[in-house]
Structure formats: structure tokens, C-alpha cells
Symmetry: D2
Subunit: 261 residues, 4 copies
């Protein structure tokens, strides 16, 4: 089965293998309220804001297709990536969803894999605090621990965040946003060609979240000429979060096709 280019008989050169995919992730995040007015400029046709809450994070992933971790030792770069993103709480046809107007990663396969699943990925330089079990003061999650990170693309800082942990928590507030809605888009480039516009939700298999801590957060929003992240205007930082997560992505579920143009 030819899932993605490049094509070879073995399928081993494709930039992305077919799902299911496994994800094990560390997140540093801030939960904020935003000015809804500029944020509406981030919504594709049919979407509305369901609340004025938003979520920004930086993260590091270990990820590969289920039953195939071979690249984890042959070429670890094909199994590790960093990601930063902005999530909004939107509504489509009366249903509440989590929607990503922006998402940046640092690997080509994560970019294309995401693009096929409807995520608006670009490449950026993403950084986040590292913990190590042997480093005094940075080996364990604990009250007072300061963590931070950022997303920068080319010569422009897009956002930087910091979190100071205060206490363990049971979960993260974005669970209330609803399922993840994405927008598959593959434009026609000539007459008679497919022109894909599809709202889909991401179908997860098992999923868990551990080591959740909350505390104080801060975030600084930047801008780039090709990255209008300044349409996210923070009113208040409600909290800062750290957590680890494991999930499996199986497929997507079609919600709505949009007629071309």
C-alpha cells in the first residue's frame, strides 16, 4: 500500500508510514483566556469560538507506528520530535471541539504526517526544559520547579512560556474543549484534480495522562510575517501545567466535507 511519497516497492522510503501511531509526550503548557475578537480571524469557514479559553504548549515526543520501533535505534531522529501549538475551543454545528489554529514541529515526517491528518503544521525551532533524574533540583517534579520553552520560526520569536509548579493536579482543562477537530486540506493544482476540504476528528485508541502538575504560568506572544500568532491576545494566564501523556492515533472520522471554493 502506497501511503505517502516517495514511492518504492518496499514502502520503506515513504516519509510517513500508515497508522496506528504511538505517542509518548512531555508537555509544558499555559491555560489562558483570550480576546475573542482577533482570535476569530483564525477560524476557517463554519467554525465559531465556543469559549474564550486557549491553551499553548511546548512538548517533546517519542512517536512511531505501532509494532514498528526499528527507527528508534536505526535513526532516532525519525522517532523524536518537538512540537509547539496553540489550541482554541471552537464549535462546529453546535458541537464543541479543540482546534489548533497553529502547530509547529521540528521534523519533516511529523510535518507531513500531521498535514495528512489535518494539522496546520510548519517547521520551527522549539525548545523546552529538560529534566534528568541525577540533576539536583531538576530531577523530580516538585513545588517551585520552574520550566519553560519557546517556539521561534526563522528570525521571529512566536511565543515563549514559563511555568512554576505548585501542586499535583488530576487533569488538564483542555479535556473540556471536546474532541480534536482538524481540517484536511489538499488543494487542486489543475483542472479535474481532487480538491480536498474536510473537517475530521482525530480517533484515538487508548490514552492516558500522568504526572500532572499545575502552578503559575506566564506567556509572551510574538509575531512573524508568515505566522500571525499575534491574533492570540492574552487577557489572563489562568494557570501553568506540566504533564506526560501517552496516546494512540488510529484514524480520523469525517465530520463534514466543504464544497470547493
Amino acid at each position: 500500500m502506497i501511503y505517502a511519497l516517495p514511492v518504492t516497492r518496499s514502502g520503506r522510503s515513504a516519509i510517513v508510514q500508515p497508522p496506528p501511531y504511538l505517542y509518548a509526550v512531555d508537555y509544558i503548557a499555559v491555560y489562558v483566556s483570550i480576546d475573542p475578537e482577533p482570535a476569530r480571524e483564525l477560524l476557517p469557514p463554519g467554525l465559531e469560538l465556543a469559549s474564550n479559553k486557549a491553551w499553548l504548549y511546548v512538548s517533546e515526543f517519542l512517536s512511531y507506528p505501532e509494532n514498528n520501533d526499528e527507527m528508534a535505534y536505526l535513526d532516532p531522529e525519525l522517532t523524536i520530535y518537538r512540537e509547539g501549538a496553540v489550541a482554541l475551543n471552537v464549535a462546529l454545528d453546535g458541537q464543541s471541539y479543540l482546534y489548533f489554529p497553529f502547530m509547529w514541529v521540528d521534523k519533516d515526517w511529523a510535518l507531513i504526517r500531521g498535514y495528512i491528518n489535518g494539522y496546520p503544521k510548519k517547521l520551527a525551532h522549539i525548545s523546552l526544559s529538560k529534566l534528568h533524574p541525577l540533576m539536583p533540583g531538576r530531577g523530580q517534579l516538585a513545588p517551585g520547579l520552574k520550566l519553560g520553552g519557546y517556539v521561534a520560526r526563522n528570525g521571529y520569536a512566536l511565543f515563549r512560556l514559563q511555568v512554576e509548579l505548585m501542586e499535583k493536579a488530576d487533569g488538564v482543562p483542555i479535556s473540556a474543549f471536546g474532541p480534536t477537530l482538524t481540517f484536511r486540506r489538499y488543494p487542486a493544482t489543475g483542472a479535474g484534480e481532487a480538491d480536498v476540504w474536510e473537517y475530521v476528528t482525530v480517533v484515538k485508541g487508548e490514552s492516558k495522562i500522568t504526572d500532572v502538575w499545575k502552578g503559575r504560568g506566564s506567556v509572551e506572544i510574538g509575531w512573524g510575517p508568515n505566522d500571525e500568532v499575534n491574533l492570540i491576545q492574552i487577557k489572563e494566564v489562568i494557570g501553568g501545567y506540566y504533564y506526560r501523556s501517552f496516546f494512540k492515533i488510529l484514524s480520523t472520522k469525517l465530520i463534514k466535507k466543504i464544497q470547493s471554493k
Copy 2:
């Protein structure tokens, strides 16, 4: 018009703007004959080899949408990229084409722009000799000038080439391969979703080629666990080339849709 993600009202955050696109390029290339047997493993359904000739190059591009060079001074990285590729001479339904089984670039927008147009792009580290008008011995194309470059992806060297210029030439041999055939592929990720498989040819507007030199060439083919470039097995290096090119890409022309699976 929403051409590509991310979506914003202004359209200014999209990773790719709609065509037409302008391209001004410097190429260092080798023209080779290859063993047809392993090379057949690189062909998607319906394609055959039309000859045992192939072409490998490294190159640097200045490129942006026509009538919009603003990023050339706001963020030059959104207008400059390097590319390395392998081109084969294939036949589809009796017609001869130039087909790229592999192509690597070093920018996200070049990757997605290419993917939409059916090019099998990945990211890699690409390098090629630089000329400068003030550098003694490297300011002008001249007999005896040695040029080189390579493509490496993660921890694997994919190919390295060298060219020693001998004399001016009128053109490059790949013109004989025919128009560029690409393969638009955007897989369904769930039931009822579009599953795009389309052979298209790239429609160029004006196009010119200047400063063509030929000479001796050499090339060393590598391998990667996700990049089976070793299926290109060189029998003979016929020549080495340097040239500059300008062209405009307007759209693509649908040649054939393939029924899904």
C-alpha cells in the same frame, strides 16, 4: 481563498501561497547511466523506465509567488532553499517523462509546496559550492573549476557529487526525458474521506537556462533506512554539468487518476 493550512482571514499565515511561482536556480549535476533492475523498484504503478539514464543534482533556489517578493526582505528564509534530487526517464502509457523518485529540500514551505504538486520531498541537509565574483579562482565559470555538493539526511549520507568544468554547452540532456511527471498523493485517514492518487505534469510558463557548462563528473551513492537511494546503481558517469535556470510554475495538468487501492 484558502490554499493551504494554517488558515487565517488574511491568508498570510498559510505555509504556501497559491501559484504561479518564480524560480531562479543554480544547479550542479551529473548525468549517469544506471542499472535498470533495482531502479524499477522506485516506480509507482503504471510507470516503466524509458531509458537507463538518470540525473542527480544539488541546487540553490530563490523562489516566491509571482508579484509578491515581500518575504525576500522580511524573511529571506521564506524565499531561499536548497534542493537535491534524483531524476529518472520513465514512460507512462507510451509517453516519455522526467520523473523524480527522490527529492530533498531544506525548508518547510518548499516541502509542502512540492508535496501539493506531487513531488516526493523530504527534508535533508544539502550543500553545494558557492561562487563569489571577488574570490580569485572561484568568481567565474571556467575550464578546470571544481564544484561539488551533497545530500545528507539525519545520520546518513545519501549522495555526494563532484563536477570539473571543461567547456560551455548548449543545454542539458534531461530536456530529452520529456515533461516532468509527478504523483499527487494525499491518503484518506478515515471512511468517506478523499484518497488522492493522480499523475500530473507540471505546467511551466516561461523558462530559460543559461551559463551551461559541462565536464567530468563523479558521484557516490549512499543509503538511509528511510531513503533507499541505493536502488540507484551507477553504471557510468556520462558527464558533469553546471547551469542556471529561471522558470515559472503555473499549475499542473491531470494525466491520469488511479483508483484507490
Copy 3:
């Protein structure tokens, strides 16, 4: 002769070869006046400001040891680098000099080569407009042409500049600053070890400058937690410049040793 680490019998693995070095460069620069008060915090012991003028640039270099351009085709990355810098006009013992409080490059060998010659180099992401002879409107220097670039380090934008060319010029104003003064610094890390503090001037062989254009300029100064470039506070942008330069660096000339601590 062991000039730099790593050591091998052949000397071919050293990160830097001995001088003389050749440099062929394209520069985009702005000439500015600055607030002298914060800028004084950038001066090492004994230096004073000689004027309130400063110069910021982004540039791309082709550079290698004289009589040895082999790497230009074996590994072009060992002969190409980009550089961004801030230059001040300082005085030491009554003599006027050009002094770089900050300089960023994008290659390890340019970093160490510079460090040995007393330049305060770090690595950064540097970008600048590219010209190409075949690109309409970006093939020739001409009135109205807009050029730009930036320096960003990790998640922080350090400066961005733009220039709009107006007319040809005879030279660049930094010639009036005097010779380039650098500060060789290699600290002792234990008792009895050498602790180098030396002011030197860079000794150039032949040097020329061509294609000088001036026009309007603009610059935006950023900041980083490890890059206090915000100590450069612009009062006025006097002009913007583009030029090409060739020069040879032969050695340095000792001006003054400083007693350790």
C-alpha cells in the same frame, strides 16, 4: 604544526587551518547613531567610545585558507558561512578603532577561527536576501531594491534590518572607525596555566570593496538572556548599505597585554 584541535598527524582534522585566509563577502548593513550610555557597558577594560556611531550587518562569506580551496568542492559547508555583527567606534590609548561587541556566525570553524583571532563569536541563525541574475527585479542592484536580514539565537530575535537602495556610493562609513581591534581571551582553568588577555589588531593583506550602494535603512533591536544586544539603543538610522568585499587576513598585531585579574 598543530594550529588547532583536534590533533592528527596529517593536520587535516583540525577545526581551523593556519592563516592566511581569503574572504569574499556580501554585506547588508545599517549605519546608525546610538545612545552612548548603555553602549559603554559593552566595552572591556581600557576602551572608550570614540564616537556615537555604530554599524550593524548581516552577510554571507565564501572563505578558506589561501592556496587551499579543496573543501569548496569536498565539503562546501567548510567554506561558506553567514555572519551578523554590531560594530562600535572605540578608542584605546588615544587611538581610534572599529570594535565588535557582538558577532554571530553559523559554522563551528568560523566560530573557533574567530575566537582565536579575538572576535566574540557565537552561533546564531542568520538570514539575508539573496540575489540571482535570472530573477526579474532581484538580479541587479538598482534604485528601489529592498534587502533585509536578521540574526536570531535560539528563541530570541537579536536584530532585524532592512535597506532600500537609492544610489551607488564610493565607500562605507566604517572605514573612518580605524583598524579592527579585537580581544584575544583564553582563560586559565587551573593554577599555573596560561591566562590570555590581549588586545590585537587584525592584519589584512589586500582588500577591496565593490558594488557599494547606499539608501534608506531601518533596524529593530531585540534581546536575549545571553545576548544583551539591547544595550545598543538606536537614536537615528543614518543610512542603509549593500556592498561586496574581498580581503585577506594574514595575522594579528599585538597592541597590549592585560595583566590577569
Copy 4:
């Protein structure tokens, strides 16, 4: 105190702060025997091989000056780096040492910090397997776990290694090599300037090693025109190792000065 360039009054812009430094590290390594003949070409004056054993590793570090972890949340990239290296067992004046003929890192501050301490650092692209506590089969060290990594510089793969864990171990064999001997080298660039050639040993404060596992190993040695790592010719891979380490570097101890040239 001005420890390193760039100089500012606050000291906050220096590429490296003074020691002591903290290091918390994950290592993947292979223990090998080598052909002594070519390896001798890697030894600076006065060194001899003390055995035909060598050690190659890839690793990831969390590291910063003691009592100053601020960058861990302001700019995590100033506290995280990857390193790959080759270690030999040498003798100087009858004393056995661990000596690094080659060491590559991926951050400028790690490069200069190392260079000041006598390590022959260059920049390279370094990758190693990542573990994550929530990833099935890659959350825990266990028999059968496969790990790997590599060092590549520009277009050349320098080495790749793989380890398959078999059992816990008490320590790593390089402890028997002796203390770490490095070679501080800062060449004069003009008459009367300091010309530093000093053998020193690295002085560690507390140091510990945990989670040591050993098993099967394999390694593939490459080559680069500026990286003669092919002088390491493997006779046998004795074992593969994974371990974590914490140590503090306080200073260096002068062993021997070499008369210039």
C-alpha cells in the same frame, strides 16, 4: 571577572560562564579494541597508546554552572546538548589516561566551554535513542532493549552505533583508562602573543554513575575530509553499554606545558 567573550559589564552575554559546572548525562556506548597502528596518528606529541582499547559514545546532557539554573527555563537550549566522542587509553610520562582524539557537540557554548578545557570539540549532528516512561517497550531499561545513535558532520556520517541490553552492570570499563587528559591549545596569531600548549587533567568534584547496563554492541565507522575518524579501525566490539552519570567539573590541573613549536 571576564571569563569569556563577548564582554559586557554584567557578564551575562559571555558564551561561557566560569566553573564549576554540573552535568547529568545519558550515554549509549561501545567498548572496542582497535588497530593501534593508525590510531597512533591521532596522538599529539608525547602521548603513546597505553592499550588497544577504545570507547565510542553518543550522549545527551543537561548542564549548567552550579547555583545557576536560570537558563533551564529562560532558554533551555543553553542547558541541553548532545555529544558524541571517541576515547582512547593513552600514556604520558608513564601515567595512564583517558584521552579524546575526537569530540562533537551540537551547541556553541558546549564547544567553547570544551575548547577552553582542552577538548577537541566540533559541531555535528548527533542523535540517540530516547526513552519515555509511558512508551510500551521503551520506558524501562530491560534485557533485549535496542538503542542506537550516530554522529554526522555536514555531509559525512562519522560513526553509528547500536547496543542491545542484556544485563545490569556495576560500572563501565573506561574507569580503568585513568583520569581524563586534555590538551589546551590557543595559538598565537602574531608576534609576542601567547601560544598555549598545555596538557591538563580535568578535576571533577562529586561524580556518580547509575543505571549501568551492558550487552551486545555494534559500530560502523565513517569518514569526513575534515574528520579522520577512519583512523579508528575496529578489531572487535567487546560490548555495548547504557548508563547515566552525574558529575561536577571544578577546574583543570596542569600536567605539562609544551614549548611552542
